[in-house]
């Protein structure tokens, strides 16, 4: 979601850039429209065989698939609020299709029309999956087997009318029947393969999520291989196939279906493509970049119009006004200028462009370094994942792979000059390899193998810390005590796994919104997996922490003793309070003059002669601040307070 905002904003900013690059389908909106087609049949509605395991689910495959769709719907509302979702049941006794398509007896039931989900859609689906309130008896199979051609026509119609011009449109078919056309004679003009071709030519894709019961298998070659497509050029990834989800062996069907769908859930959007990746002068390959790591935040608040029948989001439009005359200005009049002091410095459009020009988009390696030279603190923003592409240069993949292997083997990183897009800002990046998901040494098995562009901060981005005094260092004994604690509290696998920690603020925001939208009871207590497991910590380490505290106190006591002895040795016993802490509580009590303020003598004099009021507020504050007094309030209050102090102290 966040990147979409950026995307839009970027478009806005680049309005003037005539020759901005664009890809093939540049006119399409960067959204996703997803239709779930779930088969309804006897076997899909069969509850799973009874299991010993009490936790085992008793849901039928169809219900499980609906649960899956429900989860995806909820997730999408959070992660991609502009995406559309539709749910079609096929092979149903009842038929429900939109009025604008003529499909009688289609045995298709449009449960949720393809659109950005509304609260009512979520609610209806929830009632169905959680309360099993199938009031309309939609989950009843038809006598005739489902007609795949009907289904594909309906889906194409939905994509065409509900989701025009959307970049990613996908049909997810969830079924346990590997041969829906068995016994049906194929007729060239009524062939599902033609229907599938239409869907593909419309720029949509079909993905299959097969379910296998018990020992049976799912043979895609019987039917589905004819309607699932594979692009030999673009699909370096998708072999087009997903392993069947099993409903037996105590394996949770929901679990395996959810994980299958999750792996295909987010449409893979490249952040940049056909990027020249210069390994050395004269050796260029092409790469694609992906924002695998991307901060997700709640969508911004909006304005809502309540006067109508239904609350409605009001769409804002911006008119530009000149500040001096408040007249409306046209776009062409608007110029870009930089504030310089209180005035503006102006550049022509061509000059503006030339200022930003640091060369075209590229990743250019300027050398390699030992990985240890990459300092932990040198972090400034998220990294971009890159993967080779044969788009611009044939042979990119093998060269990329050779580099990847070398960097892992020798524990090195590349240093590169990177410009993500034309007129973009240059950034220096470290090129770091991620290990294969199968590699046991990998601490990040949830991330794909490849290279990452890790931005290195500029010196301008580095801040100095505050002045610190002399280091007080731990003792071996104390560190040993702490070691016990650290060793006891390893996270599972000794690594950080983000999937265990949903963002509590984000989840809470949408949980409340959902409750408000569905008119549920607003929950009172957020779930927050980031809160440390206090009970476990104290159970496992309480004792060790106590020991550590004890040792720390002993060490501190010793330190105090030593200091005292040292001071006595130096015969410095007049100033007993010359501990470092003194500085902070230094008051002017025993100082008669401060550097640039007023001395106590002078204050007394002014007090006696009644000329304290002649001092400026700044002087008063200075004098009072030095003496540790509150410096807030009106001048009258300040003078009173200071008078009081002088009476008491001078």
């Amino acid at each position: 979601m966040a990147d979409r905002w950026n995307y839009e904003r970027r478009d806005e900013g680049d309005e003037e850039d005539e020759e901005d690059e664009f890809t093939e389908s540049h006119y399409k909106a960067q959204k996703d429209a997803l239709i779930f087609a779930i088969q309804v049949s006897e076997s899909m509605l069969q509850p799973p065989p009874k299991s010993e395991d009490k936790k085992a689910s008793t849901d039928s495959a169809a219900l499980t698939a609906l649960k899956c769709a429900y989860r995806v719907m909820q997730q999408r509302i959070i992660s991609n609020p502009k995406d559309m979702i539709g749910i079609v049941l096929f092979g149903t006794q009842k038929t429900k299709v939109p009025d604008d398509i003529r499909l009688q007896e289609s045995q298709c039931y449009l449960l949720t029309d393809l659109e950005v989900p509304a609260a009512d859609d979520v609610k209806a689906l929830r009632d169905l999956v959680e309360e099993s309130e199938d009031t309309d008896e939609v989950l009843a199979p038809s006598e005739q087997p489902a007609d795949m051609v009907m289904l594909l026509r309906l889906v194409l119609h939905l994509f065409q009318t509900r989701a025009p011009n959307i970049g990613s449109r996908r049909l997810f078919i969830i079924t346990d029947n590997d041969d829906p056309c068995a016994g049906v004679k194929r007729n060239p003009s009524w062939d599902p393969a033609v229907g599938a071709k239409d869907i593909h030519d419309h720029g949509c894709t079909i993905e299959l999520f097969p379910i296998a019961h018990g020992e049976s298998s799912f043979d895609t070659s019987k039917f589905y291989d004819d309607i699932i497509y594979r692009d030999p050029i673009l699909d370096e990834v998708n072999t087009g196939k997903v392993a069947p989800a099993k409903s037996s062996d105590g394996l949770d069907l929901l679990h395996s279906l959810v994980s299958n769908i999750n792996s295909r859930q987010t449409p893979k959007r490249a952040y940049f493509s056909d990027m020249p990746f210069e390994i050395g002068p004269g050796l260029v390959i092409s790469a694609k970049g992906y924002n695998i790591i991307q901060k997700q935040a709640p969508a911004r608040s909006c304005y809502i119009w309540l006067e109508g029948e239904k609350p409605q989001v009001a769409v804002g439009e911006t008119a530009r006004l000149a500040e001096d005359s408040a007249r409306t200005v046209e776009n062409y009049e608007v110029k870009k200028a930089y504030k310089f002091g209180s005035e503006y410095v102006y550049f022509t459009e061509e000059e503006q462009k030339s200022i930003k020009q640091f060369g075209g988009a590229c990743i250019r390696i300027i050398g390699f370094k030992d990985r240890s030279l990459l300092k932990f603190w040198a972090s400034i923003k998220k990294s971009t994942y890159i993967f080779p592409s044969e788009e611009g240069y044939v042979g990119s993949t093998r060269v990329f792979t050779a580099l990847w292997q070398k960097l892992i083997k020798s524990k090195k990183v590349g240093l590169a000059w990177h410009i993500a897009r034309k007129n973009g800002n240059p950034q220096l990046v470290a090129i770091i390899p991620s290990r294969a998901t199968s590699d046991e040494k990998s601490g990040t098995q949830y991330l794909p193998a490849g290279l990452w562009l890790y931005p290195i901060p500029f010196i301008d981005d580095v801040r100095d810390g505050p002045e610190t005094g002399k280091v007080i260092r731990t003792t071996n004994a104390l560190t040993d005590r702490m070691n016990k604690v650290v060793q006891q509290l390893q996270l599972p696998g000794g690594s950080y796994n983000p999937s265990k920690y949903p963002n509590p603020a984000l989840q809470w925001h949408y949980k409340i919104l959902q409750a408000l939208a569905l008119e549920d009871v607003v929950p009172s207590q957020p779930e927050d997996a980031t809160v440390p497991k206090y009970r476990a910590i104290h159970k496992r380490c309480g004792g060790y922490i106590q020991e550590w505290s004890q040792v720390a106190d002993d060490v501190l006591e010793q330190m105090r003793e030593q200091k005292k002895i040292k001071r006595e040795l130096e015969g410095d016993d007049e100033e007993h309070e010359s501990r470092p802490a003194k500085k902070s509580r230094a008051t002017a009590k025993d100082r008669s003059v401060d550097e640039d303020g007023l001395s106590n003598v002078e204050l007394r004099k002014r007090y006696d002669s009644g000329t304290l009021t002649k001092l400026t507020v700044a002087e008063l504050r200075g004098a009072m601040g030095d003496r540790g007094l509150d410096t807030k309030g009106l001048k009258k209050d300040l003078v009173e307070r200071l008078e009081q102090w002088i009476e008491d102290n001078v």
């Binding site: 478009d11 959070i78 992660s79 609020p81 509304a118 009512d120 025009p164 011009n165 033609v194 071709k197 239409d198 291989d225 004819d226 050029i233 990834v237 087009g240 295909r264 260029v284 997700q296 909006c302 119009w305 309540l306 989001v313 530009r320 000149a322 001096d324 408040a326 110029k335 930089y338 002091g341 550049f347 000059e351 050398g367 030992d370 042979g395 093998r398 990329f400 050779a402 990847w404 292997q405 000059w417 990452w452 901060p457 500029f458 801040r463 505050p466 007080i472 731990t474 560190t479 702490m482 650290v486 996270l491 509590p504 607003v522 927050d528 440390p532 104290h538 309480g542 501190l556 500085k583």
Partner: protein, 729 residues
């Protein structure tokens, strides 16, 4: 809050400053002013009311200063002028000043007297308040100076804590390594005097060349440490258990993205009576005596209006009053309204805290998980116990090669974040650095195939002899190249040996930031000059070091040879051969199926026009077929627009046009599309399609659905300029 400043520049404007020396083609004054203007314009840019600048000219033709001809004993102040009194600097004062900074015909004027004047100016201005006081003297040292009071003057400056900087044109400087031969005896003498003065008052003395050379190095703005958290760092819950660990700490930014000056939107000021346009009209093209009016700008404000859907309104939308609107959020497409009093209801309630969740191994973490900027945590000041305890944690993490994962809420009510804490130990400093970690939602599940092996459709794994897998030769060549290109110790140290890291963070200047600052300052100082070139230092890391490239030449050649990478000709991108088309996994001959009589797409069905159109073109026998397909599509598009209620079907129309354009380009019939779009635009804008659909044209422009020019397709007869022009109107 930065400290207050009072700086007086003393500029030598004597006749000798107009000459060029030592091979320079710039006069000594212009050359020196490069430094001065840079400094002054930096002050202007900062726009701080508390930074004051004064300027004195010495060896000016006139005499204009407060000490001039006062009482007796005040001789020696002739030919010194106050060009600007101490005060805040603006663009206007910069312009006035620029007019004053010119060399004259005068040879005499005493720099030492000017320093005395500058001291007076500063003292009068700053009184006894807290200021950073500075005097910067720029001179070529060609005029006699009276050095009799130097001791007193130095003493006075020290007492008033004024810092004196003397920058001499071609002054000798052993440290910088500059010595001017055949120097005049007076200059030699003056250099002595000034050096003596600077030493006595602990000032700075340098030759101008050095100061100008330093301008090349971007200045990094120092920012005062910003505390992001202070309070307890805990392990366990100190509120519930006595045995919890808690340490008083403070956390600061270690890295924070430096802000780049943003460009603002402005318009030319409208002058109601007799503005520039009016003048030109009456003067009938007469140039205003060669004076270019300084453009003056006014900021642009945004005024927002709000619209809602209303089926009864023309165009389906109507304006609503801002006062009628309430705040809320979208849940899916449902608008959820939240009343003012409940506004925080969606915010998670949190209390300020910093607590350790657990520990992980350093080797199990990868830096590319970092979400952003680094913080640093140190013990609370003057708290020995905190320092000792924190130190034990730092050392423990270091010994066990571990990191800590911690949850931080920087203020009550702020959202919680997870950070990774790493130990950092220096001889005189210890701290924990932290970087933000991603949450579950921040990591996207994008599947990618493995690298170094290929899995076929049949499911077998191949690990060698495949075009996507490096051969052993390629791998060896890559290994050698990477080793040869190592820059871990490529930078030379002071002795000239390669022992230092190349491109450490300390040497990386933000090109964008410094480039913009450079051109803004330049433009403000020299409004009529073109934008200067990008300083080399900002481009230093745009390419590998040349000497290194020379060294690795043979390794690189070997690698290029083994890699044998071939560029895909740009034309071939996006095009594909028949065999490369996406097809069913089964390999079913779909074309044969489509050629069946029942599937002929002679007439494009508007309900699935895009697929029909593509298939018709794909199976077209001749150009006439394609022409016919484009014609039919054109009619369908026009029909969509005509029937569109408001903007309802615009997206559909755009998709259809986009597909037509892509296909026409792909099948190399750009002119068929071009004639369609020309006609379509004319009719659209003339309102032929049942009402005003101008908005659609605006959207099409945005999607760049214009003419296909001959840059895009060699078969097009349309020039790039024409295509650009077409989209403009």
């Amino acid at each position: 809050m930065a400290d207050k400043e009072a700086t007086v520049y003393i500029l030598d404007l004597g006749s000798s400053m107009a000459d060029c020396h030592n091979g320079r083609t710039e006069s000594d004054l212009d050359w020196s002013m490069r430094y001065v203007w840079d400094k002054i314009s930096t002050t202007v840019a900062a726009s701080r009311k508390t930074w004051n600048v004064g300027v004195l000219g010495v060896r000016t033709d006139e005499t204009n200063n407060p000490l001039e001809g006062e009482e007796e004993g005040c001789e020696g102040y002739e030919n010194i002028s106050v060009l600007q009194e101490l005060g805040p600097m603006t663009m206007n004062s910069l312009e006035t000043l620029r007019r004053h900074v010119k060399t004259g015909d005068t040879q005499n004027g005493d720099c030492i007297s000017a320093i005395v004047l500058a001291i007076e100016m500063i003292e009068k201005f700053t009184k006894t308040l807290k200021y950073n006081r500075k005097i910067i003297l720029v001179t070529d040292g060609e005029a006699p100076m009276d050095s009799s009071d130097i001791g007193d003057i130095a003493e006075k400056m020290k007492r008033s804590s004024i810092q004196l900087t003397v920058l001499g044109v071609d002054f000798d400087d052993v440290e910088f390594g500059f010595k001017e031969e055949d120097k005049s005896s007076i200059k030699k003498e003056n250099e002595e005097i000034l050096r003596d003065l600077v030493e006595k008052c602990d000032g700075l003395y340098g030759t101008m060349a050095e100061a100008i050379a330093e301008l090349e190095t971007p200045r990094v703005k120092m920012i005062k440490p910003y505390k992001t958290y202070d309070g307890l760092l805990t392990l366990g819950d100190p509120n519930m258990h006595e045995d919890a660990m808690s340490i008083n700490v403070e956390r600061y930014f270690k890295t924070h993205k430096a802000t780049v000056p943003p460009a603002s939107r402005v318009v030319m000021k409208t002058e109601s009576n007799g503005g520039p346009s009016g003048v030109t009209e009456t003067a009938d093209g007469d140039e205003m005596q060669g004076v270019e009016p300084t453009p003056s700008f006014s900021a642009v404000k945004d005024a927002r209006t709000y619209k809602v859907n209303d089926p009864d309104a023309p165009g389906g939308k109507r304006d609503v009053d801002f006062a009628e609107l309430a705040k809320g959020y979208e849940y899916g497409r449902t608008a959820v309204h939240i009343s003012e009093s409940d506004y925080n209801i969606t915010k998670i309630e949190t209390t300020k805290s910093f607590s350790i969740v657990g520990f992980i191994y350093q080797e199990k973490y990868e830096p590319f998980l970092n979400m952003g900027e680094t913080g640093m945590t140190i013990a609370q000041k003057f708290n020995d116990a905190a320092a000792l305890k924190l130190s034990s944690l730092i050392h423990s993490l270091h010994e066990l090669e571990s990191y800590a994962v911690a949850r931080i809420v920087t203020k009550d009510g702020k959202e919680p974040t997870l950070v990774l804490l790493a130990p950092h130990i220096e001889p005189d400093f210890e701290c924990l650095y932290d970087v933000p970690l991603p949450f579950a939602e921040d990591v996207r599940n994008y599947p990618f195939p493995p690298l170094g092996k290929v899995i076929t459709v049949q499911g077998t794994t191949i690990t060698e002899n495949h075009r996507n897998i490096p051969s052993q030769e390629l791998q060896n060549a890559m290994d050698d190249y990477v080793d040869a290109m190592d820059i871990s110790s490529w930078e030379r140290n002071d002795e000239g040996n390669r022992t230092m890291e190349y491109g450490p963070v300390e040497d990386l200047f933000s090109p964008q930031l410094h480039r913009i600052n450079q051109v803004i300052r330049h433009r403000a100082t020299y409004p009529t000059q073109p934008v200067p070139p990008t300083p080399a230092i900002l481009l230093k890391y745009a390419n590998p070091p040349e000497d290194l490239v020379a060294k690795v030449k043979s390794d690189l050649e070997d690698l290029i040879d083994k890699a044998s990478v071939k560029r895909v000709p740009p034309k071939a991108k996006g095009r594909r051969d028949k065999g490369d088309k996406p097809k069913p996994i089964s390999g079913l001959d779909i074309d044969a199926l489509l050629k069946q009589p029942g599937n002929k797409r002679d007439k494009i069905n508007p309900d699935k026009a895009i697929s029909d159109f593509k298939q018709k073109v794909e199976l077209a026998d001749d150009q006439a077929d394609i022409e016919n397909a484009i014609k039919q599509m054109g009619a369908i598009v026009r029909d969509i627009v005509t029937k569109s209620f408001g903007d309802q079907d615009y997206e559909r129309a755009i998709e259809h046009i986009g597909v037509m354009r892509d296909i026409a380009d792909q099948y190399e019939y750009p002119d068929l599309f071009n004639s369609f779009i020309r006609d379509f635009k004319t009719r659209l804008l003339s309102g032929e399609f049942n009402g005003n659909h101008r908005e659609l044209w605006w959207k099409m422009k945005h999607a760049r659905l214009g003419l296909i020019d001959n840059k895009e397709s060699e078969h097009s007869k349309v020039e790039a300029e024409e295509a650009a022009e077409f989209l403009k109107k």
